[in-house]
Amino acid sequence: MPEPLAIEAQELTKKFGDFTAVDRITFTVKKGEIFGFLGANGAGKTTAMRMLIGLLHPTSGQARVAGYDIYHDTEKIKHNIGYMSQRFSLYNDLTVWENMELFGGIYGMRDSEIKQKADEVIEKLGIGRLKNRQVKHLPLGFKQKLAFSVAIFHEPQIVFLDEPTGGVDPIVRRQFWEMIYEEAERGITAFVTTHYMDEAEYCNRLSIMVDGQIKALGTPGELKQELNSKNMDEVFLKLARQQS
């Protein structure tokens, strides 16, 4: 029996008029894997991800997320994924507790479940005395970690993280990745977009997008070997040069 797949995309394409934002990308993500989705700004990462989470209809191609077809089973996909975006993480004018209550409620969790889970999160992050504070008073690092906890609050199979560590200091970034590892060990699949090349090293496998196409796909070690590079920065630069 083949290993179960969390995400499989085949020739997935999105065109806006004449412009091809995502050009026939094909890749798979295994269950429990941390998959890095890399690329420069404007390479098409976000567009590709938006198709997978049901915010955009693809122009052509096939994809399955958590085993469900992205054309026909969007409702089922929605129940099985979590999403954390770079632009918005939490409602600033709600308290820590209220944010968890809200997102738990949105995903149809029962009050007792929400309470139990929220207590767990608060204990894990050690923010007991902050739980009735409005989120706007929290330091950015705490906010990002809380946002991640909220994105997986309803225990999804896959969590999509869109530039989750933007603007956060290196220590918090490190802690953030530790949280991702912990969740991956529990079986959650993480699909992470980033443009920090050092973060690429943390991923089990990754793909690099250039101009809407996937130019490289493999483990960090494989990619470095393939392109004869010392680190991911070099891998990325070589790929970009090939293009031009």
Binding site: G54, L56, H57, H79, Y83, S85, Y91, L94, I106
Partner: protein
């Protein structure tokens, strides 16, 4: 159902934690009602008048006394020639001047007395009102002095139906309710919805299993409730403080109120589906909606005296129809049998804007 409740409570929290929204919600209506009720009124009180009495006899003195005894006028000068009158107008000392020629009493007894009335018509409405007030008092005086109506004079008896005292507030209360509902329902909902887009939280909500309709309905219900409460607040102020009559069915009024709120909410939702920033939503709500509402709804300027193109344009202003309805119910005491046409128009607005919103919401997603 649980999901809807989650969104509604969240929205109430947003509203009650934002001072600016609260001010618009509760400060604005109260201030507006008192402003329009007390300050912006067409009624004349204590208008400044100058009298140049060249006759100085008992009859002229009686006439002047009668004018000043009314609440309408206050003596502000006793000029002795036309130049002085002119200076008085220029200095803004008075708005009208009464000139009583010499031999007034003699002429009066012969039945051929004349007085001259000079008015500062730089404010034409005011000048007209003052002229008719003065004319009325002078006519009254003639009848009183002679003891009978002079022959060969046509006196038209006026009876102001529905608002016998010509109280401006009777027009302003319906107008203010309408404008406030436009502001709260359209402005605040379009801002609340575009805020989520701007923040990016709309995306998070759309990725969740929530149905888009639930998101919008959940966000809009709090504004609907608050709009309704506001309308009741303004109505109560109108009835208790300004003694507006309530001749028709209160229940019908509430029903129509609800319909109008739905109409303006659907416009607010439509605006938010077409704009992506709070600023733009606010500009559109304020300038594309508020100005025409205030100017073309018949709230301040009568629609019948507008040029034809503007009269035609006024038909796309929902507020116009609601003002007709609310005046009909409160002041004329009519029921649905007389108001079904404007009611139908408002229902039309709801249908059109709801469909248009659904359509552009779908387009945005694909």
């Amino acid at each position: 159902m649980q999901e809807l409740w989650v969104i509604i409570t969240k929205e109430f929290k947003h509203i009650f934690r934002d001072v600016r929204t609260l001010l618009i919600l509760f400060g604005l209506p109260t201030v507006q009602v008192f402003l329009f009720g007390y300050a912006l009124t067409n009624e004349v009180r204590d208008a400044t008048i100058a009298v140049w009495d060249q006759s100085h006899d008992v009859t002229s003195a009686k006439l002047v006394n009668k004018l000043l005894a009314s609440d309408y006028f206050k003596l502000a000068g006793l000029p002795q020639n036309y130049d002085e009158i002119k200076d008085g107008f220029r200095n803004g000392d008075y708005m009208l001047a009464l000139v009583i020629p010499a031999n007034f009493a003699e002429d009066f007894n012969k039945g051929q007395a004349k007085v001259q009335l000079l008015l500062d018509a730089s404010d034409p409405n005011m000048a007209n009102i003052l002229a008719s007030y003065t004319g009325g008092i002078v006519n009254n005086f003639v009848v009183q002095e002679l003891g009978y109506r002079p022959p060969y004079q046509i006196v038209s008896e006026l009876r102001m139906t529905y608002n016998p005292e010509l109280k401006g507030v009777f027009l302003f209360v319906p107008g203010v309710i309408t404008v406030i509902l436009m502001i709260i329902s359209t402005l605040l909902t379009s801002i609340a919805l575009t805020r989520e887009k701007e923040l990016g939280s709309m995306e998070i909500l759309l990725v969740s299993p929530l149905k888009p309709a639930i998101i919008i309905i959940g966000k809009v219900i709090p504004y609907m409730l608050l709009s309704f409460m506001n309308a009741l607040l303004i109505l109560t102020l109108g009835l208790l403080v300004f003694k507006m009559p309530m001749l028709g069915s209160f229940l019908l009024l509430l029903g129509e109120l609800l319909l109008f709120i739905l109409a303006v909410l659907s416009i607010g939702i439509f605006i938010s589906t077409r704009t992506s920033s709070q600023q733009v939503a606010m500009m559109v709500s304020l300038f594309a909606l508020m100005m025409p509402t205030i100017l073309l709804s018949g709230f301040i300027f009568p629609i019948d005296s507008m040029p034809l193109p503007l009269q035609i344009i006024s038909n796309i202003i929902p507020a116009k129809f609601f003002i007709i309805i609310i005046k009909g119910i409160m002041l004329q005491g009519v029921g649905l049998e007389a108001l079904w046409q404007p009611t139908l128009v408002i229902v039309g607005f709801i249908v059109v804007f709801t469909l248009a919103s659904v359509r552009s919401f779908k387009i945005r997603l694909s």
